[in-house]
């Protein structure tokens, strides 16, 4: 295997992978190997030495000069924008089991409401003191506690959480007040809308399943829609805002800023049956067709430039991947990027040959 080196010219050496690697970053093993070659073929010793220096010369000669301050200037720009950049919601690889479990629970129920909330104790108490026939559930058991409401809905309270509701629930609407964290499985009843009061956020179910999350210390409360539509009102000291959400959309409320911001859930779920999605197979299909199919399957608007993607075709099928994983693969293939802007996904212009 070392015989070829016997007749190597300088040009041969400097085109040899192992040789370049050793010349650029010599290590003990490389030194030993090339010294052995030089000992075996003494006439090559000078050639090896010259070749080694030639590799280093070529490295230096092909280096391009640039302003030394450049790296610092560019970094200043980058670090200044790191926090402003619209973050495309990352796919949390380790979290999929939890989301998958949640999705299953939601799919099995006609209504599912997941509700975490840490409402200030005072607001919670103030709102519920007028309630007649008030029931309060407090969970100090150290584990989850399931409560059955008079209308048949089930609420699972997390440790350290409490909720109040009017015991009869015989008004024109069903209302629940929550402080803490809870999972809602709400029985469908279109004639009696279901309301969740969570701090500034009031969530009204129009015929759907959805998730409410709020971590007080993070200054952000959010509502995420699984199916159907939901209206959310944010009532804050300076202004009241409202928004209607459709599947896979999410609204975040920033408490200090009193700002509502639309986005997408972290792991969008298909609005068509999972089995139908699994049958998606694209055989040398125009990328526009794939984007449009995904858009329908997830009920999410996908924005792209029709002309720019005209040349892009892909063969692909959908298995277990999440929407963002699928888009990641497609974008990798067509050398484009996707970005979540508001409740839409934008695809940058691809680079297809």
């Amino acid at each position: 295997m070392t015989e070829k080196y016997q007749t190597y010219t300088l040009a041969d050496f400097i085109q040899d992978d192992a040789f370049i690697q050793w010349a650029k970053s010599p290590d003990a093993a490389g030194d030993a190997f090339w010294e052995q070659i030089a000992a075996l073929y003494p006439h090559q010793k000078d050639v090896i030495a010259q070749a080694r220096q030639t590799v280093l010369n070529l490295a230096e000669l092909s280096r391009t000069a640039f302003d030394e301050e450049e790296a610092g200037l560019i970094w200043a720009q980058i670090s200044g924008q790191m926090d402003d950049a619209p973050v495309s919601e990352p796919v949390f690889r380790l979290g999929w089991v939890r989301y998958a479990a949640a999705a299953v629970v939601v799919l099995l129920t006609s209504w599912g409401i997941r509700h975490w909330y840490h409402e200030p104790e005072t607001l919670y108490a103030q709102r519920t003191e007028q309630l007649e026939n008030v029931h309060e559930e407090i969970n100090e058991t150290g584990k989850e506690k399931t409560v059955q409401l008079p209308d048949g809905s089930r609420i699972t309270l997390a440790q350290g959480s409490r909720m109040r509701f009017s015991g009869s629930m015989d008004g024109s609407k069903r209302e629940v007040y929550l402080s803490g964290e809870a999972f809602f499985d709400v029985k469908r009843n279109p004639s009696k809308p279901f309301f969740v009061y969570a701090g500034e956020l009031t969530t009204r179910v129009l015929g759907t399943s959805f998730t409410v999350r709020s971590f007080e210390k993070e200054n952000v409360a959010s509502v995420q829609v699984r199916t159907g539509s939901v209206s959310v009102e944010a009532r804050a000291p300076r202004k009241t805002q409202s928004v209607v959400l459709t599947p896979n959309q999410q609204v975040s409320f920033f408490r200090k800023e009193e700002r509502l911001s639309m986005g997408l859930v972290r792991v969008p779920q298909p609005v068509i049956p999972q089995a139908d999605l699994a049958r998606f197979t694209f055989n040398n299909a125009p990328v526009s067709t794939i984007f449009d199919s995904l858009s329908k399957a997830y009920g999410i608007e996908i924005v792209y430039d029709k002309e720019a993607v005209a040349a892009c075709r892909l063969t692909s099928s959908v298995q277990e991947e999440s929407l963002f994983e699928i888009l990641g693969v497609i974008c990798e293939a067509i050398e484009a990027d996707y970005q979540v802007t508001g409740a839409k996904i934008r695809i940058s212009d691809p680079h297809c040959n």
Binding site: L10, A11, I14, Q15, D17, I20, Q21, K24, S25, P26, D27, D31, E35, D46, I48, A49, Q50, R52, Q53, T54, V55, N57, L58, A59, E60, L61, S62, R63, T64, A65, F66, E70, A71, L73, I74, W75, Q77, I78, S79, Q81, M82, A85, P86, V87, S88, E89, P90, V91, F92, R93, F324, E325, G328, E332, E335, D337, Q339, D349, H351, N353
Partner: protein, 209 residues
């Protein structure tokens, strides 16, 4: 997903740790990646275009992009390869968006003639620089843009033929030919005038170990 980089195992492991810390949102890891590779990336950027603003924009886009999409990026055992390939693609994309920026020195987008007649004059001309290292430098400068790019990727940045092929969107054999032609053009210089100077400085390094 990416071809194995030939960097030593330790380096590859360090890269993977750094990359995974960065993917988990570690700002220090992100800054380390920038610090570690920015000089090489800029040197490469200036090899493929002389448009300073274009390079700035592309580097900035690239790093903001990977920061924002950190959770969705593939795990990579060669950050360096990933960054180089992405930077090159980004520069091309930005160039296509701003065709007015397309300078004559770009060998990226259009396939240019690889053979350089000017080379003969560099070696045999009477007015060339007398110092042999400078002669080599001048000859390197007379390579075609694509040859110079490939030479830099190969010898300065230490990429394999396969990696260069993927970056430059050519097949392996074309890269091999491209580099072979470049070496052939330069060979006279290594073996004649350049040899002596090169040889002297190497003796210490090589036999002194």
């Amino acid at each position: 997903m990416f071809p194995n980089h030939r960097s030593p195992l330790k380096e590859a492991n360090a890269d993977m740790l750094l990359w995974s810390a960065f993917q988990n949102g570690d700002r220090d890891a992100f800054a380390s990646i920038y610090q570690k590779y920015i000089d090489e990336l800029l040197s490469y950027g200036y090899r493929v275009t002389s448009d300073r603003q274009l390079i700035r924009d592309s580097v900035q886009d690239l790093f903001l992009h990977i920061w924002v999409r950190r959770g969705n990026l593939a795990t990579t055992d060669s950050i360096k390869f990933y960054l180089f390939r992405s930077l090159r693609n980004r520069i091309i994309r930005n160039l296509e968006k701003h065709p007015e920026r397309l300078h004559a020195d770009i060998g990226l987008v259009v396939e240019v003639a690889e053979e350089s007649n000017a080379f003969e004059t560099a070696i045999f001309g009477h007015d060339g620089p007398s110092d042999s290292y400078e002669k080599l430098a001048e000859a390197v400068n007379r390579l075609s843009p694509r040859q110079r790019e490939a030479v830099q990727l190969r010898y300065l940045h230490g990429f394999s033929l396969e990696e260069i092929a993927e970056m430059m969107q050519m097949n392996n054999q074309s890269v091999r030919n491209l580099l072979h032609r470049a070496i052939t053009q330069l060979r006279l210089l290594f073996e004649t005038a350049g040899g002596l100077l090169v040889f002297l400085s190497t003796l210490q390094n090589f036999s002194g170990r």
